[in-house]
Amino acid sequence: MKTKARYKLTVICALVMATSGLMMAQDAPKLTDPEIASVAVVANQIDIDYGKVAIKRSKNKEVTDFANRMIEDHSAVIDQAVALVTKLGVTPKDNAVSQSLMSQSKETLKKLNSVSKKDFDKTYIDNEVAYHEAVIGAVKNVLIPQAQNSELKDLLEAVLPALEAHLGHAKMAQSKISK
């Protein structure tokens, strides 16, 4: 029991660490459009990387279908973002928020790769729920309000319903896995 409780605490801590960069971003200094573009690409790439681990490690169709969907949809968002910055002649600029996201994702990837096969599905889906909740908060409260270019703002607004659909899908998978 003690080991299980300790494990749960570790998972919760890992999730808090993974999402704190985005939550902190709400108090972060103002981001420029090239910085927002960078955060958007990095945040999408992180979920693609999590999905690739899930496909490699999970045998649960619910989980692998969800992971494949994340790879497809977040790749589509990156394609749109790249097309937009190319059109606008903007180069995404690395910044404190995108760097923080990257370093925290490394920790989560380490966790996803090392957790036992038995616990993998729950760890992955729990992280997806927490990650999408955090990203939705950041897009709504930080990236959209701070974006200056109207096309960049439109793209972020177009991405929001997809993130919400992913969160709903992740919660459905979470309730099936925990049964």
């Binding site: 969907r69 497809e72 949809d73 589509a76 968002v77 394609d79 749109q80 177009a158 319903p161 997809a162 919400e164 659909a165 992913h166 709903g168 899908h169 459905m172």
Partner: protein
């Protein structure tokens, strides 16, 4: 013994009844034959089927158009009896409606819609 006059009036009455029956039959037939099935459009945009709930007549066609930059599909919800298979932005898929339908996007399971056949 019937008179010539009564025979004519009887004959005219029968002809009138037959004409009425014929007109009535043609009336019913033409209303069925002249109904032209309608095409309805459901737009898929921002992860929603729009309109989510649609009422059509039996035999009408519904066309789903994907305006998102994500793939979507249209799949029968209760037992996946049929599916459009995934289609991309700018592509569409259509189905002739023969009964009430509950459907969803199997790729994004929170996206749902219904088609109801008018009574």
């Amino acid at each position: 013994m019937q008179t010539h006059k009564s025979l004519v009036s009887k004959y005219l009455f029968i002809v009138a009844v037959l004409i009425c029956a014929f007109v009535l039959m043609m009336g019913f037939k033409s209303s069925e034959d002249t109904y032209k099935p309608t095409r309805h459009t459901v737009t898929i945009f921002k992860m929603k089927f729009n309109p989510e709930h649609l009422v059509v007549n039996k035999g009408d066609t519904v066309v789903w158009i994907n305006k998102d930059f994500y793939q979507h599909d249209v799949t029968e919800m209760t037992s996946k009896k049929w599916t459009s298979k995934p289609f991309n932005q700018g592509e569409s898929w259509s189905k002739v409606i023969t009964g009430d339908i509950k459907y969803y996007c199997d790729l994004h399971k929170v996206m749902k819609g219904t088609i109801t056949v008018a009574k």
